[in-house]
């Protein structure tokens, strides 16, 4: 080997590197811990020694935090701690699944629009604009009516209304990646459109999408609350952080703790996801050190 070639040290294998890079990224680790913590709570909810989240007690309406009710009790005497833990399930699911739906629909469409351009692009772009200009509420109620009320349908509704942003974002990224030499190279060796989109364009447009996705998780968790209010999301009495906050707003003066816990949890999870997203973006990029 020649001088120029040996000047680069041999790194370890790539997967291991992604992982080690991720681990070295302190804020990503913090993010992973936060998200992991809440994820674990959600998973372990049935096993934890906590009160029944649905059990009401007329003698303990809106009790402030105390040894008996560590986080206090709610408007009909349920244990907020256990509702927080069970609510993590619905809220994390709402946040994650709807973003996944938005990405699974928006990214391919944006990819197609950006990659093929021309009429395909024009039509898709006009539709995207139209969807962006459409109020969320109308879409949500209509979809709810169409699909029937349930948590999973709420996720679909949230996901679909977050979709246009992903279409736009992806399209814009594709337009810039498309002009890279390696894409032309792929065409030159005779790869089909599908291969080029899947292996050349997609992986290179992912980073800003991850950032957008982590931001959308927050909006989705909160949107679930407004949808459950429309009868679309988590159905009472099953808890979700969003709906807990929604109820709490009527007791802000009398029982502030009802709002503080779910509020803090949403905040932490959002921070967690954003840190995680940043870390993931950096770790996935083989070029970043």
């Amino acid at each position: 080997m020649t001088a120029a070639e040996t000047s680069l040290a041999l790194p370890a294998r790539s997967q291991a590197r992604v992982w080690s890079k991720f681990r070295r990224n302190r804020s990503a680790l913090v993010g992973a811990c936060i998200v992991g913590f809440f994820g674990l709570l959600a998973l372990l909810a049935p096993l934890l020694p906590i009160a029944d989240p649905l059990a009401t007690s007329w003698s303990a309406i809106r009790k402030p935090p105390a040894p008996e009710y560590l986080m206090g009790s709610d408007e009909i005497g349920r244990d907020i701690l256990s509702r927080m833990i069970w609510g993590a399930q619905a809220s994390l699911l709402a946040g994650v699944i709807s973003v996944v739906i938005a990405m699974l629909t928006g990214v391919p469409i944006g990819l197609i629009a950006g990659y093929f351009g021309g009429w395909t692009d024009t039509v898709i772009s006009r539709f995207t604009d139209a969807l962006l200009a459409m109020p969320f509420l109308i879409m949500a109620i209509a979809l709810a009516a169409f699909l029937g009320p349930s948590l999973s349908n709420a996720m679909i509704a949230i996901g679909l209304s977050a979709m246009p942003v992903f279409i736009r974002l992806t399209r814009g990224q594709v337009l810039s990646v498309k002009t890279e030499d390696y894409v032309e190279g792929a065409r030159a060796v005779g790869l089909g459109h599908l291969d080029i989109m899947r292996r050349y364009i997609l992986p290179n447009v992912v980073p800003p999408i991850i950032v957008q996705a982590t931001l959308t998780v927050a909006t989705a968790i909160i949107a679930e609350a407004s949808l459950s209010f429309l009868g679309l999301g988590q159905q009472a009495p099953a808890p979700s952080w969003g709906s807990m906050l929604n109820v709490a707003k009527n007791f802000l003066g009398q029982a502030p703790w009802m709002a503080i816990w779910p509020g803090a949890a949403i905040f932490l999870v959002v921070i967690g996801f954003n840190l995680l997203g940043d870390g993931l973006r950096d770790a996935l990029d083989p070029r970043e050190h």
């Binding site: 120029a4 030499d181 060796v189 790869l191 291969d195 290179n204 083989p286």
Partner: protein, 609 residues
């Protein structure tokens, strides 16, 4: 005057400069114990290959490295002050004032959001007490001084409205604004065409003579060094391996690396009397011994059918569009081009930036749709092919790009990259494909063990090899090499050229070799076509075009190539500052009829009007 000035105090004196960067695992030194001095009116060149630490040295002097990520030690004395121990605010008084700097990339080194006048004026506003109108007058004067035509009009234009050469002049004007004692020029001409490079070098020399400033000139081009530098510092992997007067370095270099570097430099005119393309000599790094390699002796049968035959190829790009979507005009990127290319032959396309070389290559492979013309490629009528035929055609003809950094997918391993076309064309499957990929990598001199690495873990030369390996898997008859070696270091450039020639000899591949580097072209080609504004102005056998250039443009091109020989310095002709023309024509423009004069043996020259 310069020789006698040895006793004068130096403007800049660098002692034991060491720079370390924070990396994943601790601090890594990339520049070690570099020492040199620059005297008033003197030009010192720092040469070395990519990554040898030239830029880091200059940035360390200017203290432009992020202090959190870089640690600089040693002493940098500027007329008696140690720059490394100054507080940042004092350093800001020095930057742009007593020391100015110009950078390699004229395209990206100017802020796209502000007019050039403002950007030049900023230096004056920062370092002088001039008022607004005085600044403007001074900027105008500076622009005229760096020979920007029409300065009064162009002062309010934006960088993107300037060609690369003109932008570099703007950079120089900016650097000269506050009459610095020292100018650091970090590869100021590398990104420019040869003709423009010649103009810029002339300009710097002239200005230096006028002002007596010292110049620290960073380059990897030995021709430029020979032309401009009084003394030369050779860097190798962060170390300064040799320092001395330029004449001595060229005549009797001590360090083997310097000798290797010099040996690898292609010299225009060195092919006189050679019938065949000639491999670059191999240099042994430890001893610096140079072993000449044999020429490429594969036969080219020009009686048989050409592998590629292009007739009247025209490609245009629409510019702008009005309300109805009609373009305002067209870039006539390729206009009425005709040539043939036979198996085992290398035809080089040369010409300045924007003359349509790449567009020609891309049109031939149908990566863009040409307007008109006929292309016969290995029996395919390229312009008529539909989907699946097009894909089959693509096995016969391949392309390698200029920029080794952007031509590989950063998120695919090299193994995947090389194996992919093999899999997609059904040439081999699974393990077999992987084995083939390994074999291909071995063919281009890479270890199969590198298959699981990502492109960024390779050097530029290695990446270019990967790109070659990738297209070889399809067994192409024609490879369009679009500036494939232009971005590489001399030694690596030599290796990659040799590789291409080896493959040609072994596999009979024909190359359409696109390049603006005349010296390399002379070395590797059988025939040469010179393009100017989308048209071929001269085409013929290599020895005819180089030995007996007929078209004025060809002559100018050849004359502009710097010659790596300090003793022949000063033979430069005064060249007028000019911008490259853009082949944009209004809607409805009809290209004039052209005719060519045949000088025999296929040497054709366009008749000038």
């Amino acid at each position: 005057m310069r020789r006698g000035a040895d006793m004068t105090p130096s403007v800049l004196s660098v002692e034991n400069l060491t720079t370390a960067f924070q990396t994943g695992d601790g601090w890594g030194e990339v520049v070690r114990n570099v020492s040199f001095t620059v005297k008033p009116g003197e030009t010192v060149a720092i040469v070395g290959e990519s990554g040898s630490g030239k830029s880091v040295t200059s940035l360390s002097i200017m203290r432009l490295l992020d202090p959190k990520r870089a640690r600089v030690s040693g002493r940098v004395m500027l007329e008696g002050t140690d720059l490394l121990s100054l507080p940042e605010s004092a350093m800001q008084q020095i930057r742009g004032n007593r020391v100015a700097m110009i950078f390699q990339e004229p395209m990206t080194s100017l802020n796209p959001a502000f007019t050039v006048g403002r950007q030049i004026g900023e230096v004056l506003a920062r370092h002088t007490d001039l008022g607004k109108s005085q600044i403007r007058a001074e900027v105008l004067r500076l622009m005229e001084r760096v020979r920007i035509p029409n300065a009064a009009r162009r002062i309010d234009e934006y960088p993107h409205q300037f060609s690369g050469g003109m932008r570099q002049r703007v950079m120089i004007a900016m650097a000269l604004a506050s009459r610095p004692r020292l100018l650091i020029a970090d590869e100021p001409t590398t990104a420019l065409d040869v003709t423009i490079q010649g103009q810029i070098l002339d300009l710097i020399k002239e200005l230096q003579q006028e002002t007596g400033m010292a110049v620290l000139f960073i380059t990897h081009d030995m021709g430029v060094v020979a032309e401009i530098a009084d003394r030369t510092v050779v860097m190798y992997r962060g170390d300064c391996v040799e320092t001395g007067s330029t004449e001595r370095i060229f005549a009797q270099a001590e360090h083997p690396y310097t000798r290797a570097l010099l040996a690898a430099v292609p010299r225009l005119g060195s092919m006189v009397g050679q019938d065949h393309p000639l491999r670059f000599p191999r240099v042994e790094m430890d001893s610096g011994r140079v072993n000449a390699l044999p020429p490429v002796l594969n036969p080219v049968d020009r009686q048989g059918t050409p592998v590629l035959s292009v007739r009247n190829l025209t490609t245009r790009f629409a510019v702008g569009s009005d309300l109805l979507g009609r373009p305002h005009g067209h870039v006539h990127a390729v206009e009425n081009l005709s040539f043939d290319l036979w198996p085992g032959e290398t035809l080089s396309l040369v010409g300045e930036s924007g003359c349509g070389k790449s567009t020609t290559g891309r049109s031939i492979l149908r990566l863009i749709e040409p307007q008109s013309g006929a292309i016969q490629l290995d029996g395919f009528d390229v312009r008529d092919l539909g989907g699946s035929d097009l894909r089959r055609m693509r096995r016969s003809a391949q392309m390698i790009f200029q920029d080794p950094f952007s031509s590989l997918n950063p998120r695919m391993t090299v193994g995947q990259t090389v194996a992919e076309p093999i899999l997609k064309h059904g040439i081999a499957k699974g393990h077999q494909a992987r084995a083939m990929a390994a074999d291909l990598l071995a063919q281009v001199g890479l270890s199969p063990a590198m298959m699981d690495r990502y492109p960024h873990e390779f050097s530029g030369g290695q990446r270019q090899r990967v790109a070659i390996a990738r297209v070889l898997g399809l067994g192409p008859k024609l490879i369009v090499a679009d500036e494939s070696v232009s971005a590489l270091d001399v030694s690596v450039k030599a290796q990659v050229c040799n590789l291409l020639m080896d493959l040609q000899e072994r596999l009979g591949i024909a190359y359409l070799f696109i390049s603006h580097d005349m010296a390399v072209v002379e070395r590797v080609s059988h025939r040469v076509a010179v393009m100017y504004l989308g048209e071929i102005v001269e085409i013929g056998p290599r020895e005819a075009v180089f030995g007996n250039p007929q078209h004025p443009y060809t002559q100018k091109l050849i004359a502009a190539v710097p010659i790596p020989d300090p003793s022949r310095r000063g033979l430069r002709r005064a060249m007028a500052a000019e911008e490259l023309k853009n082949p944009i024509r209004p809607r409805g423009y009809v290209a004039p009829r052209r005719d060519w004069q045949d000088l025999g043996r296929g040497h054709l020259v366009m008749n000038t009007a």
